[in-house]
Amino acid sequence: MSIWDYANPKKFMDTTTPAIPWIFGGAALCLVLGLVWGFFLTPEADKFGSSVKIIYVHVPSAMMAINAWVMMLVTSLVWLIRRHHVSALAAKAAAPVGLTMTLIALWTGAVWGQPMWGTWWAWDPRLTSFLILGLFYLGYIALWEAIADPDQAADLTSVLCLVGSVFAILSRYAVNFWNQGLHQGATLSLDAEENISDVYWLPLLVCIVGFILLFLALVLMRTGTEIRVRRLRALERQAQRAVA
């Protein structure tokens, strides 16, 4: 029993289809719990006032926007190396979700930035690199849409994802170099002595788990849809051949 067993579409579908409602349920539970906890049961930060509470949407969505691209990178590599169709389809399925997460992060950031910085948008390194990440997502999705042959599309988008990752990282550091920012440093990091205080940290953690589960459920569902579309096409072709 290895993870590659799930490269079999049937096995993948049999496992994920019943699991999806549970994952959605877990996501809903975590998000409701985390958001209610974060919005109504935490004290207001002295400097930020109540606007700090948008952090419970902003940080998890920003994390997932980056993680989605990393996931696409991994699945693209798996497709290029081991030619598992499920992997390519999972990358395709994750892209629009990642783009949505990017837009949510940008939007909530703008809403937060308005009262805090007095501006909706600033050419800050973090903001700018997220905008560029969004452009990468757009290009990737557009390339998938433009190519008719699915295997060719999977190949080309995988290569684009690899090259794009390198340039996305380059852009991140180039942008850092180009302008100093307004954005505060990382809220959470594993090696920091002390992160934000536990009062905010625990509900944020719950929200992050909720976003991860939501992303997982959406990607599994969309991958399942892609597999079904593939099957339908195969069936249609079979039927046409039977007629001819």
């Binding site: 190519i147 190949d155 090259v163 794009g164 340039f167």
Partner: protein, 218 residues
């Protein structure tokens, strides 16, 4: 490889290729900018290097889609692919030809066009230097994008969408070095980064372009 290079050079110069077109486009963009931002010479001098960089980038972009598309249409591309030359080398030759017919003329044209934007005396050298260092990267990245979209019917717009985000680091370091140089600041770091991007793209991207061409010709 030299034969292919010669062929591409001849084709682009003779057959009404992109040679003059991208230069003319460069000129027009630079002429349009003062109409848009007003004729004050201080403002123009300040944004001049950046404007010239963006204009050069767009002019490069404009000539990319014909790079493989023409060969694809008349069936020369499969012939080139079946030659003993590996596709990676084909991609590199195409990129070099593209640079010689687009990047190099743009670099040379940037200085005279800088006069239109009231650039200061120190800015010219920096502008030409950064463009000379940066345009090869633009050509190679663009070749990768062109190889990616070669089989598509309406590849042009998609090509811009794919290639422009990839141009971001080159543009940032190039324009930053030009700006710092023009203002008399130390421009070593962005200049080195720009050179690094060009060297890295030249070394690695032909392989990606070759792989993509192979997929597209399958």
């Amino acid at each position: 490889m030299t034969a292919l290079l010669h062929r591409d050079l001849r084709l682009s110069i003779r057959a009404g290729g992109g040679f003059g077109l991208s230069l003319a486009f460069f000129l027009i963009v630079v002429v349009l900018v003062p109409f848009a931002v007003g004729p004050e010479s201080e403002i123009l001098a300040r944004i001049g290097p950046g404007i010239l960089w963006v204009a050069a980038l767009l002019a490069t972009l404009l000539s990319l889609d014909r790079q493989f598309a023409l060969d694809h249409e008349d069936g020369a591309l499969p012939l080139i692919a079946t030659s003993p030359l590996p596709l990676e080398a084909v991609a590199l030759a195409k990129a070099v030809a593209h640079w010689l017919t687009t990047g190099l003329p743009l670099t040379l044209a940037a200085a005279p066009l800088g006069v239109l934007l009231n650039l200061e005396g120190t800015a010219y050298g920096w502008l030409v230097l950064t463009l000379a260092l940066g345009t090869p990267a633009l050509s190679v990245i663009g070749t990768f994008g062109a190889a990616l979209t070669v089989g598509l019917r309406r590849g042009g717009l998609l090509l811009s969408l794919l290639v422009l985000p990839l141009y971001v680091p080159t543009l940032i370091f190039g324009a930053e070095a030009a700006r710092r140089g023009a203002e008399g600041m130390d421009a070593t770091t962005p200049l080195l980064m720009l050179a690094g991007i060009t060297a890295g793209s030249l070394a690695l991207l032909p392989f990606a372009a070759g792989a993509v061409l192979r997929i597209n010709l399958r």
